[in-house]
């Protein structure tokens, strides 16, 4: 299967520390690839490497099916917003876009205005950027990334600083572009928002890719637990063991999460009652992306 972007064991070392350690991701054409991880996990490092802003210590990546040194003019087919938007504060939004357009080989003087309209800054185009709010700067940064209508957008926390309306606007813009075949790699801490648009996820922790899943695979994994509340957790776990249930985790307050045997809730409550253990509550629960992420990063205790 060919990918628009694929990395092969990318590693980035700073001194003795691996900011990125053997990461291999696979982004298909038309994907909205959500890169998820804690602060300092390596998301931005990975994005900088595939953007061309940084070199890997080892490993390779291919963009549009080509090695980085063979891209030629395809370098213009990627747009990026990495960390803070890079903008000249003393210039207007229009001028910032105009400079980027010229650097991209676009001489049409109307193009910056079109981009400003796309991100809702058409009335602020002539204002100096130093007078912009945080959200406006972020919108301008997104507009800069869209110069040249690139095939691949690499966006690092693009909805930072946006109010809910702004987040909705950016989400709709991304989905609109996706319909036209644009591919996205997006990192975000706001997992709930990412889950509304992402088609694939890469979970990064301490520089390593912990898991890579499509949305379908992730949904399958997320809807998988029975939450049990009893007055005697140790005795309850013995009952579960007797029933052949091994995949569970005990939390404070007598709460037990069971990750298998979802159709045996009745058996569990009956067995508990037979041993005179009170069932205070039992229910099937679906993990949110946050829950899944926290469990994944923290590790699940296996019995």
């Amino acid at each position: 299967m060919s990918y628009l972007l694929e990395t092969d064991r990318l590693t980035k070392r700073y001194g003795s520390k691996n900011a990125l350690d053997g990461v291999s991701i696979h982004v298909g054409e038309g994907d909205i690839y959500g890169l998820v991880g804690r602060n300092g996990a390596g998301k931005t490092t990975l994005m900088k490497i595939v953007s061309g802003l940084s070199d890997a210590t080892s490993g390779e990546y291919k963009l549009f099916g080509k090695n980085k040194n063979a891209l030629g003019n395809m370098v213009l087919e990627k747009g990026l917003l990495i960390e803070d938007p890079g903008i000249y504060p003393s210039f207007s939004g229009y001028e910032n876009l105009r400079i980027k357009c010229i650097a991209h080989g676009i001489n049409d003087k109307k193009e910056p205005m079109r981009l400003l309209e796309m991100v809702g800054l058409e009335n602020a185009g002539k204002k100096a950027v130093k007078k912009y709010s945080f959200g406006m700067r972020q919108r301008l940064g997104i507009a800069l990334a869209f110069v040249g209508d690139p095939k691949l957008l690499i966006l690092d926390e693009p909805i930072n600083g946006f109010d809910p309306e702004g987040i909705r606007d950016i989400r709709e813009m991304i989905l609109e572009k996706k319909k036209n075949g644009t591919t996205f790699v997006i990192s975000s801490h706001i997992l709930g928002e990412l889950s509304k648009i992402a088609t694939k996820y890469g979970f990064i922790n301490e520089g390593r890719l912990v898991e890579e899943s499509t949305t379908e695979e992730l949904l399958e994994k997320c809807k998988s637990k029975v939450e049990l509340l009893t007055d005697n957790a140790p005795a309850s776990t013995a009952v579960l063991e007797d029933l052949g249930i091994r995949d569970y985790k005990v939390f404070d307050g007598g709460r037990i999460e069971i990750y298998e045997a979802f159709d045996r809730a009745g058996d569990i409550t009956n067995a508990l009652a037979a041993r005179r253990i009170a069932t205070l509550g039992i229910r099937k629960k679906y993990d949110t992306l946050e829950d899944y992420y926290i469990n994944l990063m923290g590790g699940r205790r296996e019995n």
Binding site: G52, V75, K78, Y88, P89, K100, I102, A103, L144, G148
Partner: protein, 240 residues
């Protein structure tokens, strides 16, 4: 590369610093030219020669360095370089564009200074000693080349350190000849070599026995070394 160069020039011509800095520069040389050659020069020169005065060169080329350092650091400090470096075939391309932009600024500022010195001389009744036109052109070209060399040195320093303060200080030390003076004194006191000035940049240009061809070749070599080093470092360095 041409796209990036056009973008750099577009930004340059819209930056107030491009116009404000030469205003001071031109004002200084213009007023000095009006005073003419009968007034001792504050920079310590005996005669203001129309073809190429060291004072004119120092002020002009220092102004070029100041303007370019400002533009380079601005691009890095506010992160706009990310918008450029991600869409080029190598991270040395923006640096090459900076070098060429600096060369263009050098030519513009040199011509502007030269014209104002000429104009000032007309106003003072032509009291400034004039050189032969051929000599004048050669000297102006030599000092422009020297300006490129200084610029490439500052660019190398910038790409290595990303420090605007260091680059401004280096500009001051370079164009006041303090760095070269220090090198000359060190070589003399430590190694008893008293002609090292011939091989330096500014002192070499005015060395008694160095010919014009030697001056051009020496400056071209320095330009090649500093310029290449700046490009290599830029290509290898990450964009922060």
């Amino acid at each position: 590369m041409l796209r990036v160069l056009r973008a750099d020039l577009h930004r340059l011509f819209r930056s107030p610093v491009f116009y404000i800095t030469p205003a001071f520069m031109i004002g200084t040389v213009f007023l000095s030219a009006i005073r003419g050659s009968d007034v001792p020069f504050t920079m310590g020169l005996d005669t203001l020669i129309l073809s190429a005065s060291q004072m004119m060169s120092v002020i002009t080329m220092a102004a070029v360095c100041v303007v370019m350092i400002f533009l380079w650091t601005q691009e890095n400090r506010n992160g706009f370089i990310k918008n450029i470096a991600g869409n080029v075939r190598g991270r040395h391309i923006p640096t090459l564009s900076k070098l060429i932009t600096g060369a263009i600024v050098t030519v513009i500022y040199t011509l502007a200074t030269f014209l104002f010195v000429l104009f000032g001389n007309i106003l003072n009744g032509g009291t400034i000693v004039k050189a032969d036109a051929g000599d004048a052109i050669v000297q102006v070209l030599l000092w422009m080349l020297t300006g490129f060399v200084a610029l490439s040195l500052m660019l190398l320093l910038f790409e290595t350190t990303k420090s605007s303060a260091l680059c401004y200080i280096a500009t001051l030390l370079f164009w006041t000849k303090m760095i070269e003076e220090l090198i000359i004194q060190l070589f003399y006191f430590l190694l008893k070599i008293d002609n090292v000035g011939r091989y330096l940049i500014i002192y070499g240009n005015v060395w008694e026995n160095s010919g014009t061809a030697e001056n051009f070749i020496r400056n071209a070599l320095y330009l090649a070394v500093f310029g290449a080093a700046a490009l290599i470092i830029a290509k290898k360095s990450d964009v922060r």
